[in-house]
């Protein structure tokens, strides 16, 4: 495997191809939902984490990274997991660093530490992950996003930390 770190973190011409590869994907929406104000102090809040990193518990069905239109499922990642319990399935971002320390892309231990230090009240039972290579905006918005939002709500998280890969 050719490590991306050997070639630099960004492929030459990457940004030039974004609009060709995802034509019109610079989404502009006029119905954006405003961020909700935090209803209680962070130290009393239950936090979850939502990531497009394609991180999943070992032994779960790998994300469908070969499908040309994408994978509109998500995986629950128990918030008490250790990095060694988890693996990454995706094709579209450099994983060399994440394989050395998963926290660079999925900071599960840092969030556990923030919980232990009392900065965050508690962690929701699950964190959530999916892959960002999704070409159907309707499925993305009305299936994946809504399913994920419902799962977050079911766990009664007060706030969600969102992170792209």
């Amino acid at each position: 495997m050719t490590g991306t770190s050997e070639r630099g973190q960004l492929r030459p011409g990457l940004w030039q191809t974004v609009n060709e590869r995802y034509p019109g994907s610079m989404i502009t929406k006029d119905d954006l939902v405003p961020l909700a104000p935090l209803s209680r102090p962070l130290s009393e809040s239950r936090l979850t984490f939502v990531s497009t990193a394609g991180v999943q518990p070992k032994g779960t069905l790998p994300f469908d990274t070969v499908h040309p239109i994408g994978d509109y499922t998500f995986r629950r990642v128990p918030s008490g997991s250790r990095p060694s319990d988890l693996e990454i399935h995706q094709l579209k971002y450099p994983t060399d660093g994440a394989h050395r320390d998963l926290n660079v892309i999925f900071p599960i231990e840092r969030l556990q530490e923030l919980r232990d230090e009392g900065v965050v009240g508690e962690l929701a039972p699950s964190f959530f992950s999916f892959i960002g290579y999704n070409m159907d905006p309707d499925l993305l918005e009305h299936t994946l996003a809504e399913d994920l939002a419902q799962a977050v709500e079911d766990e009664q998280a007060h706030l969600a930390l969102l992170s792209p890969a």
């Binding site: 191809t17 469908d64 990274t65 094709l91 579209k92 450099p94 994983t95 070409m135 905006p137």
Partner: protein
Amino acid sequence: MPAYRRGVSLPHLKAALAAGDTATLIRYVRLHVGDGDEDAGRKEIDKAWVQALTVLMEMPAVDREFVHETLQTKDPATLAHLFFSLHFALVRASGEWIHDGDV
């Protein structure tokens, strides 16, 4: 500029298909398998075919019953997905993996 060229990805592809614009479709496939680089994608497709040919060149035993049954019994979507899966599996087997991550 055709309207579909301004659309978001899947609508863009569907409009291209409806317009008979196969050049746009194959270009998309090359971008997908080439991680956003069309030239790389073209080489990746070639690489998969060369790998498939190389494996078969010495006439090893083949489970043709499996292949026949799969082609006869599986639905078109599963077979199409298998086609993409085989592409990546053959590229992986070639020993030259250009992708940043793993399937």
